[in-house]
């Protein structure tokens, strides 16, 4: 065993010396390789953590949300729909929900207005999300002025700021009383944005939804399961940025592997020839090439994965910020919880390290099986 270890050490010594002889080329290869693994891992970590966090947070989302559609678009729903829905067997409760959007021309930001049903706010008071407070520099006790649907001005006082911990769901929220909401938006007393339905038995969600559609044909029920599935699918590996990064990475690895698999440089062939001539076995040459592939790919892989973890979970993914912020003025400031699993690391490993190592060994094996005299003469 000790002899085997010593032999491997000698081969590694030789391999590292050989790599250092082509220092420039191999350093460039290491940097590009690390950057590719870093990008791929960052996207994988980010989307997985986001999906996981969404699945935990949205477990308490409404059982069914019923919208009304007119000409294919979401429209206001009459509050009497809630009364109709309550009559369906299995329905615990149906509550009209009041919410909407408000575009602030001065800051050019979109807010989400909402009426809090539990613990209603007093007329004239609002609770705002931390994102609004941070962006507009508005704090507890300050006044905010809104332009109502008919052009009047409505000034409301910030009673409190929603906890910064909840920014991922509340960054752009403005909670207000029903009275202020209706005055601001002009929504009639008998209308609401949608209806939230609570169902006693989770197995009956679909049945209740089907009954709602039969009873109210212009309604569109959205089930809890659909809400959860939406976040699972919009950030899956086939989504825009992810598929783009995977495509670029795969293309780069094909170029890498093609470069390696299409043959060795004259210098590398000569090296193999000399090694064979001085008594190296074919197995030793392949062993050396395995270590060469490992030295580049495994080191790049480990460095890339660790850097990606720091990028996504310790520095809140600053490289993705321009894409995430997009055109929006208000964006949440949040740090994702690191949800990672060994399966992700294994996928990344098989996607990046294995093809490169194989592509390094195959041409070397071919060169190592040819007569050394022939190699050196060619």
């Amino acid at each position: 065993m000790k002899r085997w270890i010593n032999k491997q050490k000698n081969i590694i010594d030789f391999t590292l010396s050989s790599l250092l002889r082509r220092k420039g080329k191999n350093t460039a290869l290491f940097i590009v390789y690390t950057v590719l693994v870093f990008l791929l891992s960052s996207v994988m970590f980010y989307t997985h953590a986001l999906k996981k966090e969404a699945s935990i947070i949205l477990q308490s989302t409404p059982d069914i949300v019923v919208q009304r559609t007119v000409a294919g678009r979401h429209d206001l729903i009459p509050t009497r729909y809630a009364e109709e829905i309550r009559k369906i067997r299995g329905v615990n409760d149906a509550v009209p929900r009041l919410w909407g959007y408000y575009y602030d021309p001065q800051s050019r930001a979109n807010f989400t207005l909402m009426v809090r049903e539990s613990h209603p706010l007093a007329a004239g008071d609002i609770s705002i999300g931390s994102g609004i407070s941070r962006t507009l520099k508005v704090f507890q006790g300050d006044m905010m002025t809104f332009r109502t649907f008919d052009g009047d001005l409505l000034t409301l006082q910030v009673a409190d700021i929603l906890p910064a911990e909840s920014e991922l769901v509340s960054s752009d929220l403005i909670l207000m009383s029903e009275e202020d909401f209706r005055f601001l938006t002009g929504m009639a007393r008998d209308s609401a944005t949608d209806v939230v339905v609570r169902v006693r038995n989770p197995k009956e969600f679909k049945t209740v939804a089907a009954k709602i559609v039969t009873m109210l044909p212009d309604s569109r029920p959205i089930l809890k399961d659909e809400i959860l599935r939406t976040y699972d699918s919009v950030f899956d590996w086939r989504s825009g940025m992810v598929v783009l990064v995977i495509f670029i990475a795969v293309l780069a690895f094909i170029i890498f592997s093609w470069d390696k698999a299409s043959g060795l440089s004259a210098e590398e062939r000569m090296e193999i020839g000399i090694l064979k001539a001085v008594g190296w076995e074919t197995a030793d040459v392949i062993n050396m090439k395995v270590w060469e592939g490992t030295a580049i790919s495994l080191t790049s892989f480990l460095s890339g994965v660790i850097l990606a973890y720091i990028h996504v979970f310790s520095t809140a993914a600053p490289l993705f910020a321009p894409v995430l912020k997009g055109w929006s003025i208000l964006y949440p400031s949040f740090r994702l919880t690191p949800f990672i699993n060994p399966f992700q690391i294994a996928t990344l490993f098989f996607l990046t390290v294995v093809p490169y190592t194989v592509a390094t060994i195959v041409p070397s094996w071919r060169a190592a099986t040819i007569d050394p005299d022939l190699i050196m003469r060619s």
Binding site: Q8, D13, L16, L50, I56, I57, L58, Q59, S60, T61, T69, G72, R73, R97, Y101, A109, N110, R116, S118, G129, L162, P163, E165, S166, L168, V169, S171, D172, L173, L175, V196, K206, I222, E226, I227, R229, Y231, S233, V234, F235, G240, A295, T299, L302, S303, V305, I306, Y309, F313, V323, L324, G326, W327, S328, L330, P332, T337, P338, F339, I345
Partner: protein, 105 residues
């Protein structure tokens, strides 16, 4: 020091770092429990349906509540023109496979 020993030590150190990210992740998950509980409580209290990630348009702010014609609402050929569209996919229901329940059709 021999090059092989230096390299293997370096590789060992990187492996240790890789293992430590799993430990760090587990510790952070414990710390995040109160934050996640706070958000879950708020989602339940306000009956929220979406994460506040992209606020530029209603169909990016509330993708679960977007109507079925969402990607075409600006003009018939428009898919999605906000940069966030490069990060998130078109809602499943719009595609041919139809991720929404048959109730929506």
């Amino acid at each position: 020091m021999r090059r092989s020993v230096a390299y293997l030590s370096c590789l060992g150190f990187l492996f240790l770092l890789l293992i430590s990210i799993f430990i760090h992740a587990r510790v952070e998950q414990g710390h995040a429990a109160s934050r996640l509980n706070e958000m879950t409580r708020l989602v339940q209290e306000l009956e929220l349906t979406d994460l506040c990630l992209f606020t530029e348009a209603r169909y990016t702010r509330h993708p679960t509540q977007a109507d079925l014609q969402t990607p075409f609402q600006d003009h018939p050929m428009a898919m999605e023109h906000f940069p966030s569209g490069s990060f998130m996919k078109i809602p499943e229901g719009i595609g041919r496979r139809g991720g929404h329940e048959a109730l929506d059709q």
